[in-house]
């Protein structure tokens, strides 16, 4: 057997063995991984409404029981109505309601935005006044650790609490990430619409700002209803 043929044969067998091992591992562990991801998403939803602290560890069943008690997944139709069952209509948007004693405290919007290196996925919780942010979290991203990756850190996320998605006249403006500290960069009357940026992550901030605006615009119909106080109780 020529040495070239031997090399090719060896490489082919090696590739086959490696891929067989990896496929087995990946399918065998998928169930555990998916469960972990689901719990992590639930933890992030709870964190965005302030029920769970970022720096504390919670057992999985505690997360699940809190989620079952306080959070209700719903859908929003085109007119901004909250509906229970997801009908076969792709214009319906998913939404999570934070309810306490059958009163809506806040609603949570899933974020799926462009980032510098990949999609940024997280949640933005807005209070029942339809304009005040009660929390922002990220559960999946591929930004550079230490730079754009800081979006998942508590110091960045706590800046979002209390910011407004409307300006002083009540018009929708979304919320933007400043280039630097809000206090130095943004005029006082606009400071409630900006959060502190991350140094070295200008592009991440830019893309996330644009992505948020897009998402919040889609949810504007339901936000307006909250602002006008038309929704107080979850349907059903």
């Amino acid at each position: 057997m020529s040495s070239r043929l031997k090399s090719i044969l060896f490489a082919a067998i090696l590739c086959f063995v490696c891929s067989a091992i990896l496929t087995t591992a990946s399918t065998g562990l998928q169930r555990f991984q998916e469960q972990n991801m689901r719990i992590d998403r639930h933890r992030n939803i709870l964190m965005s409404v302030g029920l769970v602290k970022a720096d504390q560890r919670y057992p999985a069943d505690e997360i699940e029981s809190m989620y079952a008690e306080f959070i209700k997944p719903l859908w929003v139709d085109q007119d901004g109505q909250l509906i229970e069952a997801p009908q076969e209509d792709e214009n319906n948007l998913p939404l999570y309601i934070y309810k306490k004693e059958n009163q809506i405290e806040a609603y949570v919007v899933p974020i799926n935005s462009r980032g510098l290196w990949g999609r940024i996925q997280g949640y933005l919780a807005i209070g029942n006044d339809g304009s005040t942010i009660s929390g922002f979290t990220v559960y999946k991203h591929s930004e550079t650790p230490g730079l754009g990756g800081e979006i998942e850190k508590a110091w960045f996320q706590k800046n979002w609490v209390g910011k407004q998605i409307v300006d002083r006249d009540g018009e929708f403006v979304s919320v933007s990430i400043a280039k630097g500290a809000v206090q130095d960069m943004i005029p006082p009357q606009k400071q409630s619409n900006y959060v502190d940026g991350i140094s070295g992550a200008t592009l991440t901030g830019k893309y996330l700002t644009a992505g948020l605006k897009e998402v919040l615009k889609d949810y504007e119909p339901v936000s307006i209803k909250f602002r006008k106080n038309l929704i107080a109780e979850p349907p059903g």
Binding site: S3, C18, A25, F32, Q33, M37
Partner: protein, 216 residues
């Protein structure tokens, strides 16, 4: 020594594996002596937890990649050996990553890309190329363990100081008493950032070189 060394311990001390581990810990430490694997040593040493998980993952990857490559060393065609080594290492690293995602999700999220970057860690390829290709499987496996321990010792040492000085914690538990903060003590923010790791690793290298020079 106090003269009461029991027999098995004496036997262990004479084995080659023990000598390998000792060498990797001290004379030939992959990080502080050979300056390999610095990238991950900077990135995952903010907390002890992540440093320890990373250490275990890397030690297992080096050990098993050495074992696999050493067992195949007679049949690996020389002209594609680097490709074979990288394929074996990459398979093991992805396995480690999948296992972490399944059973230690929080830590796997904190380690983020750095588990995947074990593939490019010079220690792993260096040991495969430099040792496993020319030594029998068991010795190669032990060499992997030895180098993993050498790497871990620095990683955990650096993480200890960074977490203690940077956030006043160890394993996530507060160890610097609150009373000290009341007196005006402030955590060293530099330690949380990558330059802090550079400084600590530099101090480790300095310390080791000074001690080694004194010995000779």
């Amino acid at each position: 020594m106090n003269g009461t060394i029991t027999r098995p311990w004496g036997m262990i001390r004479k084995t080659r594996s023990f000598k390998d581990i000792l060498a990797a810990l001290w004379d030939l430490n992959p990080i502080s002596k050979q300056i390999l694997g610095i990238c991950s040593a900077l990135a995952v040493t903010v907390q002890l937890n992540t440093a320890i998980v990373m250490s275990i993952a890397l030690t297992l990857v080096v050990a098993f990649s050495n074992l696999a490559i050493s067992s195949m060393r007679r049949i690996i065609p020389r002209n594609i050996r680097i490709i074979v080594e990288v394929a074996v290492i990459a398979t093991l690293v992805i396995m480690a990553d999948e296992l972490l995602k399944a059973f230690m999700y929080d830590i796997s999220k904190q380690l983020s890309v750095f588990v995947g970057l074990i593939i490019t860690n010079c220690i792993v390829l260096g040991r495969a190329e430099g040792f496993a290709l020319s030594n029998p499987p068991f010795r190669s496996f032990m060499d992997g363990i030895a180098n993993g321990i050498g790497y871990s010792s620095i990683l955990i040492g650096v993480a200890f100081f960074r977490e203690l000085l940077g956030s006043g914690k160890l394993f996530g538990f507060q160890v610097v008493p609150n009373a000290l903060y009341d007196f005006g003590y402030v955590d060293n923010g530099l330690m949380v950032l990558a330059p802090g790791a550079f400084i600590i690793i530099g101090l480790f290298v300095w310390l080791e070189h000074t001690l080694l020079r004194g010995k000779r």
